[in-house]
């Protein structure tokens, strides 16, 4: 079986059909972040407490909210996502500096017991403000460091233009995914960050496969115009791109559908990211490479050679 036999699509000629929707997605995402005054951070990043409660019967969310709000600040109560049984709720509260970390759970349990005693606490988490601040700081440092490292390695192995294009495409995927998270009102937790790292890995991988072929084809035909070389390279790697993305998407989808609540955030990022990442190698990274080449390297003989 073969997906594409002698594929010959003009990808770069139709790039705006994909760049424009992508820009629209980015602005929608960024707009939603601005309108909501920042991202919806999980307690990993903002500190506070989070309690997952299994109720015996349908949980009275309104009552739970008012009972706990009377004792603690910044209370949100939502139904736990994804799982089949809707009897689980997640209670999040803020943690004021004076509050005793140890006593919060007791306070919550006391408040709950005024409603019913037929519940059980599945998951309880308290994160102090200092820890979450460190975490935010480290997340930024790690992302910047990893991007810088990849930029250096790729400009060593390819050329600067390739490296910039690949890293920008990767950033594009991350921004779109985070934006979609904001649009879908999903929380950014530590697990989601792990998934973002995974998706960045996939996206980078995808881009490098295309660029590798571009480099190889340029070596073989140094006089061919870059635009046709890129188009041919994308066509040559099309079978692998579609197959690999399809297979990984299949895995991510099965995690999303059957993985339960704990894996929900993780697999949602993967599903979004794989789709976006596949398109970005073709429609974001390659046009940037072309633009860079025209702007800085000219249509020189040596372009892309090393």
């Amino acid at each position: 079986m073969e997906l594409f036999r002698n594929a010959n699509f003009d990808f770069l000629g139709k790039k705006w059909w994909f760049i424009l929707p992508s820009l629209a997605l980015i602005s929608a995402g960024v707009g939603s972040i601005v309108v909501q005054h920042g991202l919806l951070y999980g307690i990993d990043f903002k500190g506070g407490t989070q309690t997952e409660i299994r109720w015996d019967g349908i949980p009275p969310i309104g009552n739970i909210r008012s009972a706990i709000s009377a004792k603690l600040q910044g209370v949100t109560v939502v139904a736990a996502h994804g799982t089949g049984s809707s009897n689980e709720v997640i209670v999040s509260t803020a943690l004021s500096p004076q509050e005793n970390v140890v006593a919060v759970r007791q306070t919550i349990e006391n408040a709950l017991s005024t409603i019913s005693t037929r519940y059980s606490i599945l998951d309880f988490q308290v994160i102090g403000p200092q820890v979450s601040e460190d975490l935010r700081h480290q997340a930024v440092m790690a992302t910047a460091g990893a991007s810088g490292g990849m930029l250096l390695y790729l400009s060593y192995r390819f050329r600067l233009g390739y490296a910039v294009a690949a890293v920008l495409a990767m950033g594009h995927d991350a921004v779109i995914t985070i934006g979609l998270f904001s649009l879908l009102h999903q929380e950014i937790s530590l697990t989601v960050v792990a998934a973002l790292l995974t998706l960045i890995g996939y996206s980078m991988n995808d881009t490098i496969v295309v660029f590798d072929r571009v480099r190889e084809n340029r070596r073989a035909q140094p006089r061919a115009p870059l635009i046709s070389v890129i188009n041919r390279s994308i066509n040559q790697t099309l079978g692998r791109t579609v197959l690999t993305s399809g297979l990984t998407l299949l895995t991510a989808l099965s995690l999303l559908l059957f993985g339960g609540s704990v894996l929900h955030g993780f697999s949602l990022v993967l599903v979004i990211g794989i789709v976006v990442g596949t398109f970005s190698s073709v429609y974001i990274a390659s046009p940037i490479l072309l633009a860079w080449d025209r702007r800085f390297d000219g249509e020189t003989l040596a372009g892309g050679l090393r």
């Binding site: 606490i121 998951d123 200092q130 460190d134 990893a146 990849m150 995974t198 059957f258």
Partner: protein, 448 residues
């Protein structure tokens, strides 16, 4: 040719067996997020400690906490250094029912002091000061009792200089006295015993205060000369008095401790996540394998073999590194599987291309592998570079992710390039001269 092939195959079998053996002897342990339990992050207050002493203080704290927890009898509890600042400890307690007791054992400093009482009890510090003409004398200080269940405290004025302090203790035990009340008994060092003997002889009939972590536990009247041992009463339960003995025995913490983070996962939720994760993972894997077999025929089986071996090697490598499988770690495994599938697809597509270009089967195989290998090196090294930086700057969970991924990439290069090549070579060797590759291509393209 065939001899090297046999040798390579034997090497692969040996490595696979070794990996299986490692996994059998040391199965991968699960993180608390997958099997239930509590993790606590404690910060040791090292403010004011000189930088070169911080390490020592934190390590000493860790050892003391470990001995306290061990005395409590929770098996498999681990206390490790955590975070990048060098003053945080991660305590992992698998499935404990009485968490508040553990927290108390971890958090209280365990500083025991014995003072002579000058006056009291008073209802408030102001009352106490009034008794002494407005100001508590310089040589004395105010100490409060432990709050009663109703939250009330009483205040005593005691001598500033304690008669005995924690470092004077030699041992502490719990017993039950004649009225069935729990008592914590302690022994003093020779030096302290001399001091204590003199003090008690001078102050018969006077009151003294036993103070733990700046709170008065009890105010006994000295009835007799005491030499080298003393008793602490007033514990409400045997358990409480046992915990006190544990704290006294393990010694006082060199610095105070603050609880920064707590995460408790019920065992049922952990098992549920684990179960669902496995189910979803295998569903995804089955779909991937089925597609590969359908699309690449025999080569798909080849890829499946490489994938399975990769999984085995990765798990064994993780177990060698003493890694604990957590959610972020699983993310790393998932990414590895994705990249392993990709490597195979890349190589197979390349071989197909070479075949289409009219090359002979053997040449196409060699060319396909070597060209795809160049790409694989680039994708793998780029990911390793980013992992190294994630490891340098990341938080511990992110470090786990990076470690898993790097190990997975290494095992993947081995399985997808070396193992898969050996499998292809076998396929050709079995067929003899007019060999063809089963790659799911329409038949006419191959020449031998």
């Amino acid at each position: 040719m065939n001899k090297t092939l046999v040798r390579k195959s034997l090497l692969i079998v040996a490595i696979a067996l070794a990996a299986a053996l490692v996994l059998l002897r040391r199965p991968l342990s699960l993180g608390l997020d997958l099997r239930g339990g509590t993790s606590l992050i404690l910060r040791v207050n090292v403010e004011g400690t000189s930088t070169d002493r911080i390490r020592e203080v934190v390590e000493q704290t860790r050892q003391i906490l470990e001995s306290r927890i061990n005395a409590y009898g929770v098996s498999e509890t681990s206390i490790q250094l955590y975070g990048s600042q060098g003053n945080e400890l991660l305590v992992q307690v698998p499935g404990v029912s009485d968490l508040s007791r553990v927290k108390d054992l971890l958090q209280s400093r365990g500083v025991l002091e014995w003072y002579s009482v000058e006056g009291g009890p008073y209802r408030s510090p102001a009352d106490a000061a009034a008794e002494f003409g407005g100001v508590v004398p310089y040589s004395d200080k105010l100490v409060a009792t432990r709050p009663s269940p109703s939250g009330e405290r009483m205040w005593y004025v005691v001598r500033s200089q304690p008669v005995i302090r924690g470092t004077d203790l030699r041992d502490a035990r719990t017993s039950v006295d004649s009225t069935e009340q729990p008592v914590t008994t302690f022994n003093l060092t020779t030096d302290a015993a001399k001091r204590f003997q003199k003090y008690t002889a001078d102050s018969i009939g006077k009151r003294s205060a036993i103070v733990l972590d700046d709170e008065i536990l009890s105010v006994p009247v000295i009835e007799d000369v005491i030499r080298d041992s003393g008793e602490i009463r007033g514990a409400k339960t045997v358990q409480e008095s046992q915990d006190l003995a544990v704290k006294l025995r393990s010694g006082a913490l060199p610095a105070s401790i603050e609880l920064m983070q707590q995460h408790t996962v019920e065992a049922s939720l952990g098992a549920d996540s684990m179960h669902r994760g496995l189910e979803a993972g295998s569903a995804g894997l089955v779909a991937v394998v089925a597609t590969m077999l359908l699309y690449y025929r025999w080569a798909g089986a080849n890829a499946t073999l490489a994938l399975a071996l990769n999984g085995l090697l990765l798990l064994a490598a993780l177990s060698c590194f003493g890694a604990v499988l957590t959610m972020p770690g699983i993310a790393g495994v998932v990414l590895t599987i994705g990249m392993a599938v990709d490597s195979n697809v890349l190589i197979f597509e390349r071989i197909r291309e070479e075949l289409k270009a009219g090359k002979s089967v053997r040449t196409a195989l060699t060319a396909g592998f070597s060209k795809a290998f160049a790409t694989l090196i680039d994708t793998h090294v780029t990911t390793v570079v980013s992992c190294v930086l994630l490891f340098l700057f990341g938080t511990p969970p992110v470090k786990g992710f990076a470690t898993t991924l790097v190990l997975g990439l290494i095992t993947n290069l081995f399985t997808s390039v070396f193992v898969s090549r050996v499998a292809f070579d076998w396929e050709l060797a079995m067929q003899g001269r007019a060999a063809r590759l089963s790659l799911g291509m329409s038949g006419s393209a191959q020449t031998s």
